[in-house]
């Protein structure tokens, strides 16, 4: 059984609603009838241009956005049938790493509180245990112990992204959606983060949905690649096959358009 099973997922956003509700002027189909599985332990790369719906899809998979129709099964459970409370409880097994390493960290919380927050929410433990768990996590993502007492704005983009990764790892989730985790970073820092994600995957037996607009990055990490175009999944296959013999013209276009950058 696959860890994540997505069937006929659709998300339609209404455009412009009046103050009194209703009267929507139109709608945009951000994700259109998408189905795929994510197997345990694999990295599914999701590529597509800006506005292709890949970030929306990533959030739908975690039910951070409610889909318009379709089904999502996670670890055998139907996510859409869960109550708010059950859903919150299940979130410990599924996490997200955001694109913007600044916006996704609460500017008023110290790094230690940011990383400890999932532990505070889901696990009862005393202060000392929590402190040592935070220390472990900081080590795991390659940050110094001195980072604890500092605020997010005191760090560089790459370091902040490490804080975000530590937070996502805190509960030892099974599944992580990485939503363009390196596209806000410069190339060398991005490469370090990609390598960190690969190391952590081995260490913690993680399953990734890795969203990116960069084919080279996805090719480096992913076991399989899904290509999205205008809300639809146009191609899905092994990383090797997609990058060497793409079947869909859009995939070929993506491969040709991106200059080769070694990662």
């Amino acid at each position: 059984m696959a860890l994540v099973e997505i069937r006929n997922l659709r998300k339609v956003f209404p455009l412009g609603e009046s103050m009194f509700g209703g009267g929507a002027k139109g709608e945009v189909t951000a994700v259109d009838d998408v189905s795929f599985d994510i197997e345990r332990g694999e990295t599914l790369g999701l590529v597509g241009e800006s506005g292709s719906g890949k970030s929306t899809l990533g959030r739908l998979v975690l039910r951070l956005i409610e889909p318009s129709s379709g089904s999502i099964r996670f670890d055998g459970r139907d996510l859409l049938a869960l109550s708010g409370k059950e859903m919150r409880h299940l979130r410990r097994d599924m996490q997200i790493i955001f694109q913007d390493p600044f916006g996704s960290l609460d500017p008023r919380m110290r790094v230690e509180d940011v990383i400890a927050e999932p532990l505070v929410i889901h696990e009862r433990m005393n202060r000392a245990t929590r402190r040592s768990r935070v220390a472990e996590l900081l080590r795991a993502v390659g940050l110094d112990e001195s980072a604890r007492q500092r605020f997010p704005h005191e760090f560089s983009g790459g370091q902040r992204q490490r804080v975000g990764i530590a937070r996502a790892l805190a509960l030892r989730p099974k599944f992580i959606v990485a939503d363009e985790p390196v596209s806000a970073l410069d190339v060398s820092v991005g490469a370090q983060i990609v390598n960190l994600l690969a190391d952590l995957q081995r260490e913690f037996a993680l399953t990734y949905l890795f969203i990116s607009h960069s084919m080279p990055v996805v090719r480096y990490l992913a076991t399989r690649i899904a290509v999205m175009y205008r809300g639809k999944l146009v191609e899905l296959g092994n990383a090797e096959q997609i990058t060497t013999e793409p079947k869909h013209p859009y995939t070929r276009g993506l491969l040709e358009a991106i200059p080769e950058i070694a990662v």
Partner: protein, 236 residues
């Protein structure tokens, strides 16, 4: 001893009953601070809760609270609601506080709602939701600390407004009943002596002015202090 101008014995002079004005201003400060802080606390508390609910949940709740309730209250001058309330319920400190809070919460609620509406779209709020945080936790731990600055500034300015409103109510005889000293009531008592003993009017008026000005400055100072970025730059 009545209506004496300022002297070394009575620094601010005496009023028409021979009472020392400085002493009455000092005692009047108690009423101003008590009423001011109670009104701000009550109005802010109510405004935080109503504004957060409207801003965070949006949709129908927001439309009802924002369009109907808030606009209804905003369409009345606050002082009119207060006068009507006190006229109905009778004067006294408690009624005065309730009366002024009744018109005061809308300003906070509107500010809180607008701030929450903007803050809930920020990515760290989505991050907290992704972690499995409850709505209450998201609002209390993530949204409110990030929007509290303008609210604190508003509260300090609101404190100034509440002091002024208390003085107005007391001036109209709808505040604290005599003989309790209140700046507004002192101004009312001295109306008849505006030309023969102007110090009777000047000192309570200055007291109101300095109190109002001070709370505006306090609001500014608090804003600077509460921002961790400017605190870093100040080396604290």
């Amino acid at each position: 001893m009545r209506l004496m101008p300022p002297s070394s014995a009575h620094w601010f002079g005496t009023d028409e009953l021979g009472r020392d004005i400085l002493s009455r201003i000092i005692y009047g400060a108690r009423i101003s601070m008590l009423v001011g802080s109670s009104v701000v606390a009550a109005a802010l508390g109510l405004g935080l809760i109503i504004g957060s609910v409207a801003g965070f949940y949006g949709g129908r709740i927001d439309r009802f609270v924002n369009v109907i309730v808030m606009n209804a209250f905003l369409s009345f001058p606050g002082i009119l609601i207060a006068i009507a309330f006190v006229a109905f319920r009778g004067p006294g400190i408690f009624n005065l506080v309730v009366a002024l809070s009744l018109g005061g919460w809308v300003g906070y609620a509107r500010l809180v709602r607008a701030q929450v509406l903007a803050a809930r779209e920020r990515e760290f709020v989505e991050a907290a939701r992704a972690l499995g945080a409850s709505d209450l936790r998201i609002v209390v731990r993530h949204i409110l600390p990030n929007i509290i600055q303008p609210i604190i500034v508003q509260a300090a300015i609101g404190m100034a407004g509440a002091i002024l409103a208390e003085a107005t109510m007391s001036f109209l005889g709808l505040g604290v009943p005599p003989p309790t000293a209140s700046w507004g009531a002192m101004l009312n008592d001295s109306r008849a002596h505006l030309f023969d003993a102007p110090h009777l009017v000047a000192f309570p008026a200055l007291a109101v002015m300095f109190a109002v000005l001070s709370f505006n400055f306090i609001g500014d100072a608090l804003r600077d202090f509460l921002d961790p970025r400017s605190r870093m730059e100040a080396g604290l």
